[in-house]
Symmetry: C2
DNA sequence: TGCCCGGAAAATGTCAGACCTTTAAACGTC
DNA sequence: GACGTTTAAAGGTCTGACATTTTCCGGGCA
């Protein structure tokens, strides 16, 4: 008996959740290190005094958070997973997207958050932006000017442009944090119909931003970003106004 | 047979993962709305042609991401969950903490990301900060000055101070994004031994920040934050240097 | 001696069926 | 009409079994 009943502050049932929590805590507190193998399902079942399906449910919970990975076969089992940036990006984006879509977050609030965060990276990007990231940004700008590009395509390219901007800061932690903020805006942006005129205005601002970064001019980049925020905000408000009328 | 084998781009087995993905996509794409009830486990098992334990594993995966909630009893079942801010905070913090601890992110990089993001909120906080949030900040500053406070306690209070700062921006999306950045730094900060002298310096800077916000002076707040960043960075580098020597 | 192949073993993946517990709606009684 | 009781639906858990995958070890053959 590993888990004495006296130390359970969570009397509510659901054994698999309790077991998942116990293992998760062990990982977070560093009692289990990366790539360490967990006991087999049968052993865990014995340790926690539950059946194997219950243990499996707990392990699936952890797998869903990318905390462990499992491997079949003779020397397989569950291993503590090194959380990669790409996995973290994915979770971040999923969570942020759902948070926005399920809590009727207003366009204004989401927009404000996104641009506040992006403006935080701009000075670093202006300082460190690499040629290939600048090239990516120019490529996206070019794509945005293609005639016949759908609104969804324009939005996707916009997202790619802004992700290149934050990646330019050369700080992977920052990139990870911003991935959610930027990607989660896409569904909201997709509601906007981009006219040729508004596309032109956005492309012009994107160009100004890229130029400023290339010139290592943080102030100019910040001003252009502020203008882009104002412009985006206005586009969004127009859509909202049109919607409320209908 | 609902899932024809031809349309599976993921030939690798693991039925519960496939089923979880199918349901998750349905939720993300809006085919299932908040509070909608999923079919019962038995019905899902029949639909997907799998056994009930397999369905349950899939549901646990979704529950781990707070995408669904389950309820026992007669009209119970699994329901699409409205992802609350507090749930999102929790996931964000867990993921960010693990990301930092498992990828030997340097103190410098984490610190830079954190302060870049915080500085993004400062102008908004200076504009909107409410009296009760200011009071929270003052209370934390006071606690930080208590003699006999442990290093862990000092760090915890530091985190609380900074969270109040970002909450002051009055933008829940921003607060959510920053929760991870701030909380994930705590383990790194806990490695630092805070002398009476360094505590005094930090408290002085915290006071300057609070004063600036109260005076709605965004520039002064930004400058104080920059100084705090520099100071924190130096403390961290000293610790790293001492460690490498040992 | 050295290489290849096949079986054993260990672990996860899946299934089937049963029982318990919880919960709320439906029913009947006063 | 209000209140307690029954009952059925659904999730939570257990037992046991079989399938599948992968590694390792040992034996046969050149």
């Amino acid at each position: 008996m590993k888990s004495d009943p006296t130390s359970k502050p969570e009397p509510k049932s659901d054994l698999s959740a309790q077991i998942a929590k116990a293992i998760r805590d062990a990982i977070i507190e560093g009692r289990m290190i990366v790539d360490e193998r967990l006991p087999s399902e049968a052993e865990l079942a014995e340790q926690f005094n539950v059946s194997r399906p219950t243990v499996r449910e707990a392990l699936k919970r952890l797998a869903a958070q990318s905390l462990i990975r499992t491997q079949r076969g003779a020397f397989g089992g569950a291993f503590v997973n090194r959380l990669s940036y790409s996995e973290a990006y994915g979770q971040q984006i999923t969570t942020a997207t759902l948070l926005l879509s399920m809590n009727d977050v207003s366009f204004d609030v989401a927009c404000e958050a996104r641009y506040a965060l992006e403006r935080a990276c701009a000075p670093l990007s202006a300082q460190r932006c690499t040629p290939d990231l600048l090239a990516s940004m120019r490529a996206e700008i070019h794509r945005q000017g293609q005639p016949g590009l759908s609104d969804e395509g324009f939005c996707a390219s916009d997202v790619a442009f802004h992700r290149a901007l934050v990646d330019g800061a050369g700080n992977p932690v920052l990139s990870y944090q911003l991935a959610g903020a930027i990607e989660a805006m896409q569904p909201l942006m997709n509601m906007i119909t981009f006219t040729a005129r508004s596309r032109g205005a956005i492309i012009a601002l994107h160009t100004r931003i890229a130029d400023a970064l290339e010139a290592h001019d943080a102030t100019a980049a910040d001003i252009a970003l502020q203008e882009l925020e104002q412009y985006t905000l206005r586009l969004g408000q127009d859509v909202m106004a049109a919607r409320n009328k209908a």
